[in-house]
């Protein structure tokens, strides 16, 4: 491959590409349930502290965002720089529907999730229609993010402007207790991982891998590239919307910074890049590691960002494929040496 070709195929050069996904169900279930079991033990350890549980819930929410973004970017190579905006459509949408329009909690969450999915699908459709490349898709979705952020700030009567607003709905339910929200978001994460995992081992997964590795070849082999991209964007955006919505109700409050570009998109991208773009468990590993690091250096205040920046530079220099693909090839190499 020449440099140009690597550039054109985009994600396969950035991310870790798994050669194939195993068809057997245990190979999918065991790692997902294993991760879920480990994460389920966290409240036993940190459950006494309200602050730590809030941090953990945020970490899990980021894992959910990263899975949704991974489906869009890692699987089909669409650089959606509007993770926060799509999550915000879920969060603000459901909060406004429930609080200001008086809809039931579940109905408002479903509606907001569907809205986020449809908007993600629409963005993907536009990108496919105009055959935008990675960079242009990124810029269009970035503009969408900025529009959304400015609408949040501008439509003060609906959104509460700069400070956001407190959500009344669900104020007395289990959503505001200390530990139940953690298991709610964890369950959501497991569902997301299973959906993504099942997609990967189905025909859709083959189509994703084909179009990510070589778009033109996939098209020639009969894969409708645009359609699969739109499917991925619909599903991924709905995931982002649902995660954003549930997170809003567990916090009891929404504000522009909850879904800001710098707060959500940048972090999600870094977590995914650390874990391994395109891998199943990479998003979770990235989210757990970065939430932990963030908590460890919380004493540094604003200087945290410096540490963060240094980590990201180191990451892209020494671990460009992410931790899971790097570990995977290490293990494969060790195994090959074991065999005579």
């Amino acid at each position: 491959m020449t440099e140009r070709q690597i550039e054109a195929t985009g994600t396969s050069a950035i991310g870790g590409v798994e050669p194939r996904a195993s068809r057997s169900l245990p190979v999918l279930l065991i790692p997902v349930l294993g991760v879920a079991a480990v994460l389920a033990l966290v409240p036993l350890w940190l459950g006494d502290s309200g602050v730590m549980m809030r941090v953990s819930v945020l970490g899990l929410t980021f894992a959910c965002y990263a899975v949704g973004f991974n489906l869009i970017f890692g699987s089909t190579g669409q650089l959606f720089l509007c993770v926060g905006a799509l999550a915000g459509i879920g969060g603000y949408g459901s909060a406004i529907l429930a609080d200001k329009m008086g809809l039931p909690l579940v109905a408002s969450i479903v509606l907001a999730t569907v809205a986020a999915g449809l908007i993600g699908g629409l963005l993907s459709w536009i990108a496919a229609r105009r055959s935008l490349g990675v960079i242009f898709t990124g810029i269009i979705t970035l503009i969408f993010s900025l529009v959304f952020a400015n609408l949040l700030l501008g439509l003060t009567e609906l959104t509460g402007g700069d400070g956001g607003f407190h959500i009344q709905t669900g104020a007395d339910s289990f959503l505001r207790e200390r530990i139940p929200p953690y298991y709610l978001i964890l369950a959501l994460l497991v569902v997301f991982l299973l959906v993504h995992g099942l997609l990967r081992r189905s025909r859709v997964g083959w189509a994703f891998r084909a179009l990510r590795d070589d778009e033109a070849a996939a098209e020639l082999a009969g894969v409708n590239v645009a359609r699969y991209r739109i499917y991925a964007a619909l599903t991924g955006a709905a995931m982002l919307g649902l995660a954003g919505s549930l997170y809003a109700f567990t916090q009891g409050r929404v504000s522009p910074t909850t879904y800001g570009f710098a707060q959500v998109d940048v972090e999600t991208l870094v977590m995914l890049a650390f874990g391994g773009i395109g891998t199943l468990l990479g998003p979770v590993v990235g989210a757990v590691v970065f939430t932990t690091i963030d908590e460890l250096i919380v004493g540094l205040g604003q200087l945290r960002i410096v540490v963060y920046g240094a980590l990201i530079i180191a990451l892209f220099l020494w671990l460009p494929r992410g931790i899971i693909p790097t570990l995977g090839s290490l293990i494969r190499r060790v195994r090959r040496q074991d065999r005579p």
Binding site: F136, I139, I140, I143, L146, V147, N150, L151
Partner: protein
């Protein structure tokens, strides 16, 4: 403030003029443009693309620092201004047309005027929304940008 604006404009005009001359008239400027247009072709006539890319990055850094200086003549400097400027630079570049200096200048002037006028007439947030949508529509209708070369 007004005097700062005049000084900033003067500096910008001189630098832009210099940049145009550099790209149009000097051998080095032509070499840079040739790499942007056709990397392989540039290599064939003996231009090192890596060197030119390094030069472009250095120029970018110098220009960005200059923008920060001229901007500080008009508005107060703040820590978080960087992100906003980055986003604006990205949008202006794409609207004007990638790899087109004159396009970037034209798009910068148009977007700058529209944003300033709109902000004072219909409020900051909604004017920004309109401006961003306009930029998105421009990109979608003409991906090569206002003055970009159609491939």
């Amino acid at each position: 403030m007004v005097r700062g604006g005049v000084v900033a404009s003067a500096i910008t005009l001189v630098v832009l003029g210099g940049l145009f001359l550099f790209f149009k008239k000097t051998t080095l400027g032509r070499a840079v443009r040739s790499v942007i247009e056709d990397e392989q072709g540039a290599r064939l006539v003996g231009i090192d693309p890596q060197r030119m890319l390094r030069l472009i990055l250095v120029l970018t850094g110098v220009m960005a620092a200059l923008v920060a200086v001229t901007r500080s003549l008009i508005v107060p400097v703040s820590v978080t201004a960087g992100f906003e400027l980055t986003v604006w630079a990205l949008i202006v570049t794409v609207v004007g047309g990638l790899a087109s200096v004159s396009g970037a200048v034209l798009a910068g002037i148009i977007l700058g005027i529209v944003s300033t006028v709109a902000a004072s007439t219909i409020g900051t947030f909604l004017s920004l929304v309109i401006l961003l949508v306009a930029a998105a529509v421009t990109i979608l209708i003409k991906p090569s940008g206002l003055l970009g070369v159609r491939e």
